[in-house]
Subunit: 157 residues, 2 copies
DNA sequence: CAGATTACGTCAATATGACTGACCCATCTG
DNA sequence: CAGATGGGTCAGTCATATTGACGTAATCTG
């Protein structure tokens, strides 16, 4: 494939604007709670993968333990998440949303759904597939499993 | 279009991982210079749109004047950008890369090109179009012109 | 069973990139 | 000339991240 600079720049810019504008869509809801984006990312993945462990969440977010620690402490203090020790390995801490956490995550998710829905609809299903394919190619090999495993547990139902 | 939660979450996650991993690709090059991502974003758009004004760059980056100010001052101090007063409106400041700035931006751009190229190649051209279409739909109406105008001047050549 | 490893938490110190709100000057436009 | 606009700057603050070291409990392994 012959890749001219223009095609790369176009992809770069659309990714930048698409991603930043999408995240801005949830900022208002977060600000109302006095929370930041870091809290949302944690809420999001805990919603996506109930009972996920701290170390798994660390791999997903690719930040340090210390950074995540403050976020989780804060979320727990506000009663948005709850933890319990792992059943097979009691060193682990399994993370779950509380009822309040589920409600907040759902509210924030609605903003994402609205934006993504309209983008998908405007582009048409055949283009959504392309959108996914290219993005998959952007995720480095070593992280790909991490992404594709998401929602496994939920999809099993 | 019937939009199940799973499709929205999948798009969300791929965007998150694709975007963050792509930006990480340039972090090493930036760190070598002691620069951050904010500097790269400014360099990128100045490379893309030579002689762009400060206010135009502000609209693109959607940050405050104060935040941008520090970045531009730093870039100028390092001899990566140069400015000159506007010709039609002398209040304006036109931003350009110096030779050193062009070299650095090109080096950083190469990392992006490598990643995006391989993702485009893995997905195939028909999917690249879909990728663009969906992302365009994610950019709010009021910002769309901002994005589509990028590179106009360069494409005219 | 002893020792290594893992999962998680926590300390202190630091950096970056952003924010608000006020205010200034120079220049352009009606 | 008055007001709007382009740009710069002040001081203070916040959110999110970093590194590196250390502690404790639980699990795994020779």
């Amino acid at each position: 494939m012959f890749l001219r600079e223009e095609e790369v720049r176009r992809g770069m810019e659309l990714l930048y604007f698409g991603y930043t504008r999408l995240t801005k869509a949830i900022d208002e809801g977060l600000a109302r709670q006095g929370l930041g984006r870091a809290h949302h990312r944690a809420l999001y993945f805990i919603a996506r993968e109930p009972d996920l462990t701290v170390s798994h969440l660390l791999r997903l977010l690719a930040i340090t333990k210390q950074s995540l620690g403050r976020v989780l402490t804060e979320l727990q203090k506000r009663g948005l998440i709850e933890t319990r020790p792992g059943t097979v390995d009691r060193r682990q801490k399994l993370l779950r949303l509380t009822e309040a956490g589920r409600a907040l995550e759902a509210e924030l998710f609605d903003a994402l759904r609205a934006r993504l829905s309209s983008a998908y609809a405007a582009a048409g299903q055949e283009n959504v597939t392309g959108f996914w394919r290219v993005l998959e190619g952007l995720v480095p090999e070593e992280d790909r499993e991490l992404v594709s495993d998401l929602g496994e547990r939920l999809r099993e139902r």
